[in-house]
Symmetry: C2
Subunit: 217 residues, 2 copies
Amino acid sequence: MPKLRFRISISLDGYVAGPNQSLEEPLGVGGERLHEWAISLAAWRAAHGMEGGEENASTQVMAESLVNIGATIMGRNMFGGHPGPWSSSAPWTGWWGENPPFHHPVFVLTHYAREPLVMKGGTTFTFVTDGIESALKQARRAAGSKDVALAGGAQVAREYLRAGHVDEMLLSQVPILLGAGERLFDNVGTDLHGLELVRTLAAPGVTHLAFARKSDA
Amino acid sequence: MPKLRFRISISLDGYVAGPNQSLEEPLGVGGERLHEWAISLAAWRAAHGMEGGEENASTQVMAESLVNIGATIMGRNMFGGHPGPWSSSAPWTGWWGENPPFHHPVFVLTHYAREPLVMKGGTTFTFVTDGIESALKQARRAAGSKDVALAGGAQVAREYLRAGHVDEMLLSQVPILLGAGERLFDNVGTDLHGLELVRTLAAPGVTHLAFARKSDA
């Protein structure tokens, strides 16, 4: 059965975003430091239409996290735009420009209904107002035989973790302290719902911890 | 110059002890799960007068953490005993029996003065009431050319981390959630005071992350 896969960068003190997140600083103060290891990769830069970058032990991890994904689920904060109902005069279309790097259906969890948004390059944004189970169902249907990526942010990830829906989790742990912000595991409890550490990979500026269900490992 | 070295087991969600620590459950609810990887090692069991155990990738890490230590610093909670002034009628002598596994001078940070305690096997407990700088100074003097181990708990470790005194930090990260308890990095801020990740080692049930000062690496 296709899997729900979740990858996120996390600080040594457990934060996936710094404090004081805003439209100007969506990752919070210091939050961009969590992603330096990824942004330095040629593979990441190519996927985002940028040149240059390097190859290192993270290249394979990044490549694996992008392969065989047929749909993506994300929270409203990750999609962006002002909180509250969607503006019809200046509609927000995401952070990623007219050709987002997904190239498949993306399901955005939100409290406010909105017509689907068809972007260039195969990315569509569908706005889901009836909860995580509905979003997962729609994403699985859209992904067909491929997997579904859970893109975040932390709040949505926590909901799927608590519900036991995450089949694979890749924590890219960055050896820094953010001191404050949004913690991934706040109020998740003590239950990893069968997820176990199956692989550890050290790379420049990051340690990747791969979790999977024991039966799948 | 001899170093201040700190090793601790930490959960995926950043806890070094579970909730509701007590004299009966000093590691808090679930806290003992943080130490299963260590207790299973033949090296650990031998150091604590126990037989059996296994050898795996953690064996070398444990051996390195025990070698060349001339003195240990710990907090009052780690030493144990009822909070408040020391009882003179039934004096607490630590968790470790009459022959503790240190075999060198141990400095216990406490608010209550007490005469030094001489145990079997070369372990002495000296009670320090005038703060972390004094304890470090006394421990360094006692250790001579050897290093000083910072044994914990979390509160004392945080104080030394914040003061920038820790020269080496080994986080033994256990892939479990404790959900609540005592976090190592609460209120430590964003400054690792020059400590950088220098080595990552995957072992059964634990990932060891070794930090050192860049100049020493």
